[in-house]
């Protein structure tokens, strides 16, 4: 009898650990371990298929910080992110404000706005690549109908960055708009009424009541889109068809460079180094975003 009771109690004490064990075992194996091993790999000359060749200490890092292709990929990633993310979040705010009004068929509108986010990135990239084709793409034909010459979108850095940014923008604006909308609807209506009584215009009320009210969501979307931006791969990779991102690497992003080094040139140690630097970059940018949003929105 007593042994049964203590067995039951022991079962009850063990249960929580058994419940969370699958997550932690899988996370340790496929998340944490690869992350730590990446650090170890980055200290070696390491062939992806053959394995370790030689311990080289920080040589990979020294090489990385002197590598013009790395800086090129870094600049491209930053450029595409800035061209894409800023209009994206502004447009999302605008769409959320539009949907935050009396509207017939509200759910249908929200479904339409979210639809692009559901479409596979690969399909998005292929459709837009077709739209941006040099001579016969729809965009080229519209441009030439307007009197502008045909544009080789992939040939110039600025136009390639713009093209990729448009793909990102199209896919993510609606998603962020819905997050903003949800946050806006949880801002107490009385605050708007009070602002109106004080003679605030609609724009003023939006700036002084709505934006501060949705600050946590603004921060969340800024962090999410930045981390997405740092990891940008599918759209530019399919836009050019290779991991080099055009003949002059004019739109090669950091993860494309990681893919090229690690999985095409099999230089695993160097790819691991790129991974670690990217990881640090993600952390840094997330922190920077927090500070920025706090300052911008806190001031108003």
């Amino acid at each position: 009898m007593r042994t049964q009771v203590s067995f039951a109690r022991r079962g009850r004490e063990a249960a929580p650990y058994l419940f969370i064990a699958p997550f932690f075992v899988l996370f340790a194996t496929f998340g944490l371990y690869p992350l730590l091993r990446t650090a170890w790999l980055s200290l070696h000359r390491w062939d992806l298929l053959a394995g370790p060749v030689e311990f080289t200490g920080l040589a990979n890092y020294a090489r990385l910080f002197a590598d013009p292709f790395f800086y090129n990929a870094l600049a491209n990633t930053a450029s595409i992110f800035l061209v894409g993310a800023v209009p994206q979040l502004v447009a999302a705010l605008g769409i959320a404000a539009l949907l935050d009004r009396p509207l017939r068929g509200r759910t249908a509108w929200q479904a339409v706005v979210l639809l692009p986010n559901v479409v596979p990135v690969v399909a998005v990239a292929l459709v837009f690549t077709q739209l941006f084709m040099r001579d016969h793409g729809l965009v080229a034909r519209i441009l030439s109908a307007l009197g502008a010459g045909p544009l080789d979108w992939q040939a110039h850095a600025w136009s390639a960055h713009l093209g990729v940014a448009i793909m990102v923008l199209w896919r993510w604006t609606g998603y962020h708009a819905l997050l903003y909308l949800a946050a806006m609807q949880s801002v107490p209506r009385e605050l708007h009424e009070a602002a109106a009584l004080d003679g605030a215009s609609r724009a003023r009320s939006f700036r002084s009541v709505t934006l501060p009210g949705i600050r946590p969501t603004l921060l969340f979307t800024a962090v999410v889109s930045t981390i997405g931006g740092v990891q940008l791969f599918t759209e530019p990779r399919l836009f050019g068809g290779t991991s080099t991102g055009g003949n002059d690497r004019q739109f090669q992003t950091l993860v494309m460079y990681l893919h090229e080094r690690g999985f095409e040139q099999l230089d695993a140690g160097y790819a691991a180094t790129i991974s670690w630097v990217l990881f640090a970059l993600c952390a840094l940018v997330a922190l920077g975003n927090t500070a920025l949003v706090r300052r911008l929105v806190g001031r108003w």
Binding site: P16, L35, T38, L98, L131, L138, L179, R202, T217, F233
Partner: protein, 273 residues
């Protein structure tokens, strides 16, 4: 006090509508015309009649049937596993007391922000050791559970399952497993549906890791097969966009069914609560 829509609201919404739908419409237009009329001839604005032929051609050009099956296997397995394991862990974090709970939950929350993509090199090595290179297991295994899922279901359990209910079941002699199965799972079904949708979409749409670890010809998912279709020196866009339409259709259909729920659920994405 809701203010009346301004004069520009209508046209602005219309613009949003067109911008959201046009690329999808255009992919159907290109997919249903022959190559000559979309690349050199007049600009077609309505769908043509070649779609069926192109679908057939896609299935001939790559093993699209296998790709569809592979993507379905990956997405369904990953979704089912995520929902079960996340609810299990979420329930423990929300309602069970144990030593180290706070610290372990902190680890979960912290790892939400870690881009798992960055561990690809050792992950590739690991799959080699396990003998999973080129195997669907390599795509399924790392996706079986996610920190986001655990955190999401923990919030759901706190909202949807009152503590008294758990205590009452306990007094009636229910084990933790029985409480999870009979009390928790039914109560969190709405949130579980949203998690299932988000997980399915992410698994179906994943590209980078399957591209690295799967053979583009032998055992691809839909996304890898599509990129293979688009590779090469000459791109046959009607064919490629037919593939894109085929790869998109299942998720759009799936999305259309519970769109209302998905939207309601998206509005509860844990931001800072």
């Amino acid at each position: 006090m809701r203010r009346a829509p301004g004069a520009l609201a209508g046209p602005a919404l219309l613009l949003v509508l067109v911008a959201s739908l046009f690329p999808l419409y255009w992919s159907v237009v290109v997919a249903s015309h022959d190559g000559a009329s979309t690349s050199t001839g007049a600009l077609p604005l309505l769908p043509g009649g070649e779609l069926v032929d192109h679908v057939r051609a896609v299935f001939e050009a790559v093993d699209f049937r296998a790709a569809l099956a592979n993507s379905a296997i990956v997405a369904v397995t990953v979704t089912a596993s995520n929902v079960l394991l996340s609810t299990l862990a979420g329930f423990a974090f929300a309602h069970l007391r144990f030593r180290g709970r706070r610290a372990l939950l902190g680890l979960v929350v912290g790892s939400v922000m870690v881009p798992a993509q960055l561990g690809v090199v050792p992950l590739f090595e690991l799959m080699g050791w396990l003998g999973w290179y080129g195997d669907l297991a390599a795509v399924v295994a790392p996706g079986l559970v996610s920190a986001f899922g655990v955190f999401w279901m923990r919030q759901a359990c706190r909202e949807a399952v009152p503590r008294e209910l758990v205590d009452a079941a306990r007094v009636d002699g229910c084990s933790s497993v029985r409480i999870w199965w009979h009390v928790v799972l039914p109560a969190v079904r709405p949130q579980a549906v949203v998690l299932a949708m988000l997980t399915f979409l992410a698994a179906w749409n994943d590209f980078f890791w399957p591209l690295v670890v799967l053979d583009p010809v032998e055992s691809p998912t839909v996304q890898v097969a599509l990129s293979h279709l688009a590779g090469g020196y000459y791109t046959d866009y009607p064919l490629v966009l037919t593939g894109a339409v085929l790869g998109t259709a299942p998720v759009v259909v799936l999305f259309a069914l519970p769109a209302r729920r998905l939207i309601a659920g998206l509005r509860r994405v844990p931001v800072d609560r």
